[in-house]
């Protein structure tokens, strides 16, 4: 169980995250929604131990989350724009990079992980020969290879077509059902939101927290400010 208590983060004098508190239970698929600049990526990086807190605390199963503990149990899948997709690498080699995360003894077989994300048989394919949705699933496979139980996915559904998005959501659901804890950021407020167990609405502070239906009821049509798209 990942517990976030009264967490604040500042850059200079400006607050980026303000007094956030929530709990993520194992085996749940949680959406983290909010407009661009709401602090979603910052929150994921904070959880992953890459950014320091200004206030508050984060605990994993009751233990304070140190950078070392974060590296052992949490894995971050970066935004699509962070990846050099033309890099000369095969899908299998990309996925195998997950073993470098320092938990080699726990690692599983590349082909088994590829099968889990629906990319069986594509290990020898060059990364830039995959479709956008397949590339995202390959990246998810590499994140799985890190043998973490909490997966932090930064806008994995951005810039991919609806069928690929549905396929990715299906894989994420299967992972949650298998016991993984998934926190998935998105600035898209479409119908896909119903695929999640829970929704956290963020705009520097937590504006909503509940099931998609509960959050819809409390925040109208899930629009915050003028930023979000439907």
């Amino acid at each position: 169980m990942l517990r976030v208590s009264k967490v604040s983060v500042q850059r200079g004098s400006a607050p980026v995250l303000d007094n956030l508190s929530f709990v993520l239970q194992p085996g749940t698929l949680t959406a983290l929604v909010g407009p661009n600049g709401a602090g979603k990526s910052t929150l994921l990086q904070v959880l992953e131990g890459q950014l320091p807190l200004s206030a508050g605390e984060i605990a994993l199963d009751g233990e304070p989350l140190t950078p070392r503990l974060a590296r052992q149990h949490l894995a971050l899948m970066p935004q699509r724009s962070e990846i050099f997709w033309s890099f000369p690498i095969t899908v299998g080699d990309l996925v195998a990079l997950g073993r470098l995360a320092g938990r080699r003894s726990l690692c599983c077989d590349v082909e088994a992980v590829l099968q889990r994300v629906g990319l069986a048989g594509l290990a020898q394919r060059r990364l830039d020969q995959l479709s956008g949705g397949q590339q995202q699933r390959a990246l998810l496979a590499r994140t799985l290879m890190q043998s973490a139980r909490v997966l932090l996915l930064d806008e994995p559904c951005a810039a991919i077509d609806p069928p690929s998005r549905r396929e990715l959501l299906k894989v994420m659901r299967q992972l949650a059902d298998a016991g993984f804890t998934l926190l998935v950021s998105s600035h898209d407020w479409g119908r896909d939101l119903d695929s999640y167990d829970r929704v956290l609405v963020l705009d520097r502070m937590l504006l909503g927290d509940g099931t998609p239906a509960q959050v819809r009821a409390s925040l109208g049509d899930l629009r915050v400010g003028n930023h979000c798209c439907g």
């Binding site: 894995a75 970066p78 990846i83 050099f84 890099f87 990079l97 470098l100 020898q124 060059r126 990246l139």
Partner: protein
């Protein structure tokens, strides 16, 4: 003696071959890290160190490496400071580049030393000495060792820098090693193509080698081979009586010819 006179070209040819392999290896890693700008910066930033080392009676290569790394670190530090203010890093890099180049040129009269600037800038393969062979050989060994020991980490850093940091890879240390090897490479290539033309030999073979490759290892091997053909072939061509041109600039021009070749291959791949 007569035998030595007959093979006078052997030493510069060997230096050309080693530099031809060395530069594309370092250039390929920088290209896939999207840090090729570093070559231009380091190649100009080596000059103050060269001048100072000469004035102190030390090996100019050592001064060049220290100065090149110092320039790169300085640029990186100021770039980080500028990033939060959304100012482009290129302006910072070019300012450091010009500043170090200017300082290097100023130090020559200030320290009262004699430097053949033309040879430093454009290379002079015909004037190489056995120590140049040793230095370029050591630089080749350094990059091969670095890539052998840290290959997968550089792959991770190239394809996903944020993921590499998140996975706990020593990103800053890996970048520092690469900067060091780049500076060593530039200094070693100085004798062959000079600090200005080295960028061509570092970038163009990698561009061609990248096409259709399935691994960084494959790109590295291809690029080194292309670089050796360019550099060694360029030297042999330059010394032909009917050509008789300076080898460094000729190698630079040959690098340019790779671009249409790349375009042709790119079309063939599609």
């Amino acid at each position: 003696m007569i035998v030595m006179e007959g093979v006078w070209w052997l030493l510069p040819f060997l230096v050309a071959l080693i530099v031809g392999a060395l530069c594309p290896l370092a250039g390929t890693v920088l290209l896939v890290q999207r840090r090729l700008f570093l070559v231009n910066l380091v190649s100009h930033a080596v000059l103050p160190g060269l001048a100072l080392a000469l004035a102190m009676g030390l090996d100019p290569g050592l001064g060049g490496v220290i100065s090149g790394v110092a320039g790169a670190l300085l640029a990186e530090r100021f770039s980080h400071a500028e990033r939060s203010e959304q100012v482009g890093n290129e302006a910072v890099l070019n300012t450091v580049l010009a500043g170090f180049l200017g300082l290097g040129v100023l130090l020559v009269p200030l320290l009262g030393i004699r430097v053949n600037l033309e040879a430093v800038l454009f290379g002079d393969l015909l004037a190489v000495v056995p120590f140049d062979l040793l230095r370029s050989g050591l630089a080749l060994l350094a990059i091969v060792l670095l890539l052998t020991l840290r290959y997968r980490q550089y792959v991770y850093l190239g394809v996903d820098p944020l993921g590499a940091a998140s996975a706990g890879l020593p990103v800053q240390r890996l970048r520092l090693f690469l900067t060091l090897v780049t500076a060593f490479t530039v200094v070693s290539a100085m004798a062959a193509v000079g600090v200005v033309l080295v960028i061509g030999l570092m970038a163009s073979p990698a561009l061609l080698a990248l096409l259709g490759a399935i691994s960084l290892r494959q790109v590295l091997l291809r690029a080194a081979l292309i670089g050796m053909v360019l550099s060694g072939g360029g030297f042999l061509l330059a010394i032909q009586p009917w050509v008789n041109l300076p080898p460094g600039p000729l190698i630079g021009v040959l690098c340019l010819l790779l671009l249409p070749l790349r375009r042709f291959r790119l079309r063939a791949c599609l």
